[in-house]
Symmetry: C2
Subunit: 203 residues, 2 copies
Protein backbone atom coordinates (compact mmCIF):
# COMPACT_ATOMS: atom_id res chain seq x y z
CA UNK A 1 0.00 0.00 0.00
CA UNK A 2 1.49 3.33 -1.04
CA UNK A 3 1.79 6.28 1.32
CA UNK A 4 -0.27 8.31 -1.11
CA UNK A 5 -3.30 6.18 -0.31
CA UNK A 6 -3.01 6.83 3.41
CA UNK A 7 -3.60 10.60 3.56
CA UNK A 8 -6.36 12.65 1.95
CA UNK A 9 -5.25 15.05 -0.79
CA UNK A 10 -5.62 18.23 1.26
CA UNK A 11 -3.31 16.80 3.91
CA UNK A 12 -0.90 15.58 1.21
CA UNK A 13 -0.73 19.08 -0.24
CA UNK A 14 -0.02 20.59 3.19
CA UNK A 15 2.72 18.00 3.75
CA UNK A 16 4.15 18.96 0.35
CA UNK A 17 4.35 22.62 1.34
CA UNK A 18 5.92 21.82 4.71
CA UNK A 19 8.56 19.64 2.97
CA UNK A 20 9.75 22.73 1.12
CA UNK A 21 10.90 24.34 4.36
CA UNK A 22 14.61 23.99 5.22
CA UNK A 23 15.42 21.03 7.47
CA UNK A 24 11.90 19.58 7.25
CA UNK A 25 11.89 16.06 5.79
CA UNK A 26 8.89 13.96 4.79
CA UNK A 27 8.36 12.36 8.23
CA UNK A 28 8.67 15.67 10.08
CA UNK A 29 6.27 17.33 7.62
CA UNK A 30 3.74 14.55 8.29
CA UNK A 31 4.11 15.00 12.04
CA UNK A 32 3.65 18.78 11.73
CA UNK A 33 0.61 18.40 9.46
CA UNK A 34 -1.03 15.96 11.87
CA UNK A 35 -0.26 18.32 14.76
CA UNK A 36 -1.89 21.18 12.82
CA UNK A 37 -5.02 19.02 12.38
CA UNK A 38 -5.41 19.11 16.18
CA UNK A 39 -5.37 22.93 16.29
CA UNK A 40 -8.64 24.84 16.68
CA UNK A 41 -9.97 26.04 13.29
CA UNK A 42 -9.63 29.66 14.49
CA UNK A 43 -5.90 29.30 15.21
CA UNK A 44 -5.37 27.64 11.83
CA UNK A 45 -7.15 30.58 10.16
CA UNK A 46 -4.93 33.11 11.95
CA UNK A 47 -1.73 31.17 11.31
CA UNK A 48 -2.65 30.65 7.65
CA UNK A 49 -3.47 34.32 7.20
CA UNK A 50 -0.15 35.30 8.77
CA UNK A 51 1.66 33.08 6.27
CA UNK A 52 -0.36 34.28 3.28
CA UNK A 53 0.13 37.97 4.16
CA UNK A 54 3.80 37.65 5.15
CA UNK A 55 5.26 39.38 2.12
CA UNK A 56 2.74 42.23 2.28
CA UNK A 57 3.19 42.70 6.05
CA UNK A 58 6.96 42.63 6.25
CA UNK A 59 8.23 45.83 4.66
CA UNK A 60 11.78 46.85 3.90
CA UNK A 61 13.29 49.81 5.78
CA UNK A 62 13.76 52.65 3.27
CA UNK A 63 17.03 53.66 4.95
CA UNK A 64 18.91 50.42 5.61
CA UNK A 65 16.90 47.61 3.97
CA UNK A 66 16.18 45.75 7.26
CA UNK A 67 12.84 43.95 7.74
CA UNK A 68 10.29 46.39 9.18
CA UNK A 69 6.62 46.94 9.99
CA UNK A 70 6.91 50.59 8.97
CA UNK A 71 8.86 52.65 6.41
CA UNK A 72 11.81 52.97 8.80
CA UNK A 73 12.96 50.02 10.92
CA UNK A 74 13.25 49.97 14.72
CA UNK A 75 17.04 50.24 14.52
CA UNK A 76 17.11 53.33 12.24
CA UNK A 77 14.42 54.98 14.39
CA UNK A 78 16.21 54.23 17.69
CA UNK A 79 17.80 57.51 18.93
CA UNK A 80 20.22 55.58 21.17
CA UNK A 81 22.07 53.85 18.29
CA UNK A 82 25.51 55.16 17.29
CA UNK A 83 24.87 56.93 13.99
CA UNK A 84 28.55 57.19 12.99
CA UNK A 85 28.90 53.44 12.34
CA UNK A 86 27.29 51.35 9.64
CA UNK A 87 27.58 47.57 9.43
CA UNK A 88 27.08 46.34 5.86
CA UNK A 89 25.46 42.88 5.69
CA UNK A 90 24.41 40.68 2.76
CA UNK A 91 20.86 39.96 3.93
CA UNK A 92 18.42 41.36 6.49
CA UNK A 93 18.26 37.91 8.09
CA UNK A 94 21.82 38.50 9.37
CA UNK A 95 20.94 41.60 11.41
CA UNK A 96 19.31 39.64 14.31
CA UNK A 97 22.54 37.62 14.62
CA UNK A 98 24.49 40.85 15.22
CA UNK A 99 21.85 42.21 17.58
CA UNK A 100 21.96 39.01 19.61
CA UNK A 101 25.77 39.26 19.97
CA UNK A 102 25.32 42.44 22.03
CA UNK A 103 28.59 43.74 20.57
CA UNK A 104 27.23 46.30 18.16
CA UNK A 105 25.18 49.46 18.68
CA UNK A 106 25.56 51.23 15.34
CA UNK A 107 23.38 51.16 12.22
CA UNK A 108 23.13 48.62 9.39
CA UNK A 109 22.97 48.54 5.62
CA UNK A 110 21.57 45.53 3.77
CA UNK A 111 23.28 44.89 0.40
CA UNK A 112 20.68 42.39 -0.78
CA UNK A 113 23.29 39.77 -1.72
CA UNK A 114 26.91 39.87 -2.85
CA UNK A 115 28.79 40.14 -6.12
CA UNK A 116 28.49 36.68 -7.65
CA UNK A 117 29.22 36.37 -11.40
CA UNK A 118 28.18 32.68 -11.27
CA UNK A 119 24.68 33.69 -10.17
CA UNK A 120 24.58 36.67 -12.53
CA UNK A 121 24.82 39.18 -9.68
CA UNK A 122 26.95 42.28 -10.25
CA UNK A 123 27.47 45.50 -8.25
CA UNK A 124 24.41 47.03 -9.96
CA UNK A 125 22.16 44.44 -8.29
CA UNK A 126 23.23 45.49 -4.80
CA UNK A 127 22.06 48.43 -2.65
CA UNK A 128 25.29 50.37 -3.21
CA UNK A 129 23.83 53.71 -4.43
CA UNK A 130 21.77 54.08 -1.25
CA UNK A 131 24.88 53.28 0.83
CA UNK A 132 26.87 55.91 -1.06
CA UNK A 133 24.07 58.40 -0.41
CA UNK A 134 24.16 57.65 3.31
CA UNK A 135 27.94 58.17 3.33
CA UNK A 136 27.61 61.53 1.57
CA UNK A 137 25.64 62.90 4.54
CA UNK A 138 29.04 62.95 6.27
CA UNK A 139 28.12 61.63 9.72
CA UNK A 140 29.40 58.08 9.15
CA UNK A 141 33.00 57.56 10.39
CA UNK A 142 33.21 53.77 10.14
CA UNK A 143 31.90 51.20 7.71
CA UNK A 144 32.11 47.55 8.81
CA UNK A 145 31.96 45.30 5.76
CA UNK A 146 30.30 42.22 7.26
CA UNK A 147 29.82 40.20 4.09
CA UNK A 148 30.34 36.44 4.54
CA UNK A 149 33.93 35.26 4.86
CA UNK A 150 33.91 33.11 1.72
CA UNK A 151 35.40 33.96 -1.68
CA UNK A 152 32.45 35.97 -3.01
CA UNK A 153 31.94 37.75 0.31
CA UNK A 154 35.62 38.76 0.45
CA UNK A 155 35.51 39.93 -3.17
CA UNK A 156 32.40 42.00 -2.47
CA UNK A 157 34.10 43.55 0.57
CA UNK A 158 37.22 44.34 -1.49
CA UNK A 159 35.07 45.93 -4.19
CA UNK A 160 33.14 48.05 -1.68
CA UNK A 161 36.35 49.07 0.14
CA UNK A 162 37.85 50.47 -3.07
CA UNK A 163 34.57 51.98 -4.28
CA UNK A 164 33.62 53.75 -1.08
CA UNK A 165 37.05 54.84 0.20
CA UNK A 166 36.87 58.46 1.35
CA UNK A 167 38.94 60.73 3.64
CA UNK A 168 37.89 60.42 7.27
CA UNK A 169 36.05 57.14 6.67
CA UNK A 170 37.46 54.02 8.30
CA UNK A 171 36.52 50.85 6.42
CA UNK A 172 36.85 47.66 8.50
CA UNK A 173 36.24 43.95 8.20
CA UNK A 174 35.17 41.52 10.97
CA UNK A 175 38.08 40.01 12.91
CA UNK A 176 39.26 36.44 12.50
CA UNK A 177 37.10 34.25 14.70
CA UNK A 178 34.41 33.69 12.15
CA UNK A 179 35.33 30.37 10.47
CA UNK A 180 36.37 30.82 6.84
CA UNK A 181 33.77 29.64 4.37
CA UNK A 182 30.94 29.75 6.92
CA UNK A 183 27.62 31.57 6.56
CA UNK A 184 27.19 34.43 9.06
CA UNK A 185 23.54 33.50 9.64
CA UNK A 186 24.65 30.54 11.75
CA UNK A 187 27.47 32.16 13.73
CA UNK A 188 27.10 31.88 17.50
CA UNK A 189 26.80 35.06 19.56
CA UNK A 190 30.15 34.67 21.41
CA UNK A 191 32.18 34.14 18.23
CA UNK A 192 30.47 37.08 16.61
CA UNK A 193 31.07 39.34 19.62
CA UNK A 194 34.81 38.57 19.57
CA UNK A 195 34.92 39.01 15.81
CA UNK A 196 33.33 42.45 16.21
CA UNK A 197 35.84 43.37 18.94
CA UNK A 198 38.89 42.50 16.84
CA UNK A 199 37.82 43.95 13.48
CA UNK A 200 40.80 45.02 11.32
CA UNK A 201 41.31 48.04 9.06
CA UNK A 202 41.03 47.10 5.38
CA UNK A 203 43.09 49.90 3.88
CA UNK B 1 19.46 44.72 22.59
CA UNK B 2 16.50 42.39 22.94
CA UNK B 3 15.50 39.91 20.26
CA UNK B 4 12.12 41.60 20.14
CA UNK B 5 13.73 44.70 18.67
CA UNK B 6 15.31 42.75 15.85
CA UNK B 7 12.23 41.41 14.03
CA UNK B 8 9.15 43.31 12.88
CA UNK B 9 5.89 42.36 14.62
CA UNK B 10 4.40 40.41 11.72
CA UNK B 11 7.50 38.20 11.61
CA UNK B 12 7.42 37.84 15.41
CA UNK B 13 3.82 36.66 15.26
CA UNK B 14 4.66 34.09 12.56
CA UNK B 15 7.60 32.86 14.67
CA UNK B 16 5.19 32.58 17.62
CA UNK B 17 2.83 30.34 15.62
CA UNK B 18 5.68 28.17 14.32
CA UNK B 19 6.97 27.70 17.90
CA UNK B 20 3.67 26.03 18.78
CA UNK B 21 4.42 23.13 16.43
CA UNK B 22 5.91 19.99 18.03
CA UNK B 23 9.71 19.84 17.95
CA UNK B 24 10.06 23.42 16.68
CA UNK B 25 12.06 25.61 19.08
CA UNK B 26 12.60 29.35 18.91
CA UNK B 27 15.72 29.23 16.69
CA UNK B 28 14.17 26.73 14.25
CA UNK B 29 10.99 28.84 14.09
CA UNK B 30 13.11 31.90 13.23
CA UNK B 31 14.92 29.97 10.51
CA UNK B 32 11.63 28.72 9.04
CA UNK B 33 10.07 32.21 9.14
CA UNK B 34 13.08 33.73 7.36
CA UNK B 35 12.94 30.93 4.77
CA UNK B 36 9.24 31.67 4.21
CA UNK B 37 10.12 35.33 3.59
CA UNK B 38 12.10 34.17 0.54
CA UNK B 39 9.09 32.35 -0.97
CA UNK B 40 7.15 33.96 -3.82
CA UNK B 41 4.03 35.76 -2.53
CA UNK B 42 1.86 33.39 -4.58
CA UNK B 43 3.26 30.28 -2.87
CA UNK B 44 2.80 31.90 0.53
CA UNK B 45 -0.84 32.62 -0.34
CA UNK B 46 -1.45 29.00 -1.38
CA UNK B 47 0.38 27.55 1.64
CA UNK B 48 -1.43 29.92 4.01
CA UNK B 49 -4.80 29.06 2.48
CA UNK B 50 -4.06 25.35 2.82
CA UNK B 51 -3.32 25.86 6.52
CA UNK B 52 -6.37 28.06 7.13
CA UNK B 53 -8.74 25.66 5.37
CA UNK B 54 -7.22 22.48 6.82
CA UNK B 55 -10.02 21.64 9.21
CA UNK B 56 -12.71 22.31 6.59
CA UNK B 57 -10.87 20.31 3.89
CA UNK B 58 -9.96 17.25 5.87
CA UNK B 59 -13.19 15.36 6.55
CA UNK B 60 -13.75 12.30 8.70
CA UNK B 61 -14.75 9.04 7.02
CA UNK B 62 -18.37 8.30 8.02
CA UNK B 63 -17.59 4.58 8.22
CA UNK B 64 -14.25 4.29 10.03
CA UNK B 65 -13.31 7.81 11.17
CA UNK B 66 -10.12 8.01 9.07
CA UNK B 67 -9.04 11.36 7.53
CA UNK B 68 -10.68 11.76 4.14
CA UNK B 69 -11.36 14.16 1.27
CA UNK B 70 -14.82 12.66 0.82
CA UNK B 71 -17.55 11.08 2.99
CA UNK B 72 -15.87 7.68 2.75
CA UNK B 73 -12.09 7.30 2.95
CA UNK B 74 -9.85 5.67 0.31
CA UNK B 75 -9.45 2.57 2.47
CA UNK B 76 -13.19 1.95 3.02
CA UNK B 77 -13.82 2.56 -0.70
CA UNK B 78 -11.00 0.23 -1.84
CA UNK B 79 -12.63 -3.02 -3.13
CA UNK B 80 -9.35 -4.91 -2.68
CA UNK B 81 -9.24 -4.53 1.12
CA UNK B 82 -10.17 -7.54 3.30
CA UNK B 83 -13.58 -6.62 4.67
CA UNK B 84 -13.65 -9.32 7.36
CA UNK B 85 -10.93 -7.65 9.48
CA UNK B 86 -11.09 -4.38 11.37
CA UNK B 87 -8.12 -2.81 13.13
CA UNK B 88 -9.26 -0.52 15.97
CA UNK B 89 -6.88 2.44 16.51
CA UNK B 90 -6.98 5.37 18.91
CA UNK B 91 -6.44 8.14 16.36
CA UNK B 92 -6.59 8.48 12.57
CA UNK B 93 -2.93 9.60 12.63
CA UNK B 94 -2.00 5.97 13.46
CA UNK B 95 -3.51 4.51 10.27
CA UNK B 96 -0.63 5.62 7.98
CA UNK B 97 1.82 3.86 10.33
CA UNK B 98 -0.06 0.57 9.75
CA UNK B 99 -0.32 1.21 6.01
CA UNK B 100 3.41 1.81 5.81
CA UNK B 101 4.15 -1.50 7.58
CA UNK B 102 2.69 -3.35 4.58
CA UNK B 103 1.44 -6.03 6.99
CA UNK B 104 -2.25 -5.22 7.00
CA UNK B 105 -4.88 -5.21 4.26
CA UNK B 106 -8.11 -5.04 6.24
CA UNK B 107 -10.24 -2.10 7.36
CA UNK B 108 -9.85 0.31 10.28
CA UNK B 109 -11.94 1.88 13.01
CA UNK B 110 -10.85 5.07 14.75
CA UNK B 111 -11.90 5.25 18.41
CA UNK B 112 -11.08 8.93 18.81
CA UNK B 113 -8.99 8.37 21.95
CA UNK B 114 -8.97 5.84 24.76
CA UNK B 115 -10.67 5.40 28.11
CA UNK B 116 -8.84 7.81 30.39
CA UNK B 117 -10.54 8.74 33.67
CA UNK B 118 -7.72 11.22 34.44
CA UNK B 119 -8.58 13.18 31.29
CA UNK B 120 -12.32 12.77 31.84
CA UNK B 121 -12.70 10.37 28.91
CA UNK B 122 -15.08 7.46 29.33
CA UNK B 123 -16.44 4.81 26.91
CA UNK B 124 -19.22 7.22 25.87
CA UNK B 125 -16.64 9.60 24.38
CA UNK B 126 -15.32 6.94 21.99
CA UNK B 127 -16.69 5.74 18.64
CA UNK B 128 -17.95 2.46 20.12
CA UNK B 129 -21.61 2.57 18.93
CA UNK B 130 -20.51 2.89 15.28
CA UNK B 131 -18.08 -0.03 15.78
CA UNK B 132 -20.87 -2.15 17.28
CA UNK B 133 -23.05 -1.27 14.28
CA UNK B 134 -20.32 -2.40 11.86
CA UNK B 135 -19.99 -5.69 13.75
CA UNK B 136 -23.76 -6.30 13.57
CA UNK B 137 -23.56 -6.45 9.77
CA UNK B 138 -21.94 -9.86 10.38
CA UNK B 139 -19.13 -9.78 7.82
CA UNK B 140 -16.36 -9.00 10.31
CA UNK B 141 -14.55 -12.12 11.60
CA UNK B 142 -11.61 -10.47 13.37
CA UNK B 143 -11.17 -7.34 15.43
CA UNK B 144 -7.58 -6.25 16.12
CA UNK B 145 -7.51 -3.96 19.17
CA UNK B 146 -4.52 -1.76 18.32
CA UNK B 147 -4.79 0.74 21.14
CA UNK B 148 -1.44 1.88 22.55
CA UNK B 149 0.40 -0.60 24.76
CA UNK B 150 0.35 1.56 27.89
CA UNK B 151 -1.96 1.24 30.90
CA UNK B 152 -4.88 3.21 29.47
CA UNK B 153 -4.52 1.56 26.06
CA UNK B 154 -4.55 -1.92 27.61
CA UNK B 155 -7.57 -1.02 29.78
CA UNK B 156 -9.42 0.27 26.73
CA UNK B 157 -8.63 -2.95 24.85
CA UNK B 158 -9.82 -5.07 27.80
CA UNK B 159 -13.03 -3.04 27.99
CA UNK B 160 -13.69 -3.40 24.26
CA UNK B 161 -12.86 -7.13 24.30
CA UNK B 162 -15.49 -7.79 26.97
CA UNK B 163 -18.05 -5.39 25.47
CA UNK B 164 -17.84 -6.63 21.88
CA UNK B 165 -17.32 -10.38 22.43
CA UNK B 166 -19.61 -12.33 20.11
CA UNK B 167 -19.74 -15.86 18.70
CA UNK B 168 -17.62 -16.23 15.56
CA UNK B 169 -15.70 -13.00 16.23
CA UNK B 170 -12.01 -13.32 17.01
CA UNK B 171 -10.72 -10.41 19.09
CA UNK B 172 -6.92 -9.99 18.97
CA UNK B 173 -4.22 -7.68 20.26
CA UNK B 174 -0.92 -6.77 18.56
CA UNK B 175 1.97 -9.16 19.35
CA UNK B 176 4.83 -8.33 21.65
CA UNK B 177 7.38 -6.40 19.66
CA UNK B 178 5.86 -3.01 20.28
CA UNK B 179 7.79 -1.58 23.25
CA UNK B 180 5.57 -1.32 26.36
CA UNK B 181 4.60 2.26 27.20
CA UNK B 182 5.40 3.56 23.71
CA UNK B 183 3.10 5.54 21.43
CA UNK B 184 2.13 3.66 18.25
CA UNK B 185 2.48 6.81 16.14
CA UNK B 186 6.26 6.49 16.34
CA UNK B 187 6.64 2.72 15.83
CA UNK B 188 8.94 1.72 12.97
CA UNK B 189 7.51 -0.28 10.07
CA UNK B 190 9.49 -3.49 10.73
CA UNK B 191 8.51 -3.68 14.41
CA UNK B 192 4.92 -3.06 13.52
CA UNK B 193 4.91 -5.70 10.77
CA UNK B 194 6.22 -8.35 13.19
CA UNK B 195 3.76 -7.22 15.85
CA UNK B 196 0.92 -7.66 13.35
CA UNK B 197 2.19 -11.12 12.41
CA UNK B 198 2.31 -12.40 15.99
CA UNK B 199 -0.93 -10.93 17.31
CA UNK B 200 -2.45 -13.01 20.14
CA UNK B 201 -6.06 -13.93 20.87
CA UNK B 202 -7.43 -11.92 23.76
CA UNK B 203 -10.11 -14.32 24.94
Amino acid sequence: MLDSAAYPQSLQRLIGWLCRLPGIGRRTAERLALALLEWPAEDLAHFGEQVARLRQDVKTCTICGNFSDTDECVICRNPRRQTDMVCVVETAAQIPVFERSGGYHGLYHVLGGRISPLHGKGPDDLAIPSLRQRLQAGTIRELILATNSDVEGEATAAFLASELAAPGLSITRLAAGVPVGADLSYADAATLASALGGRRAMR
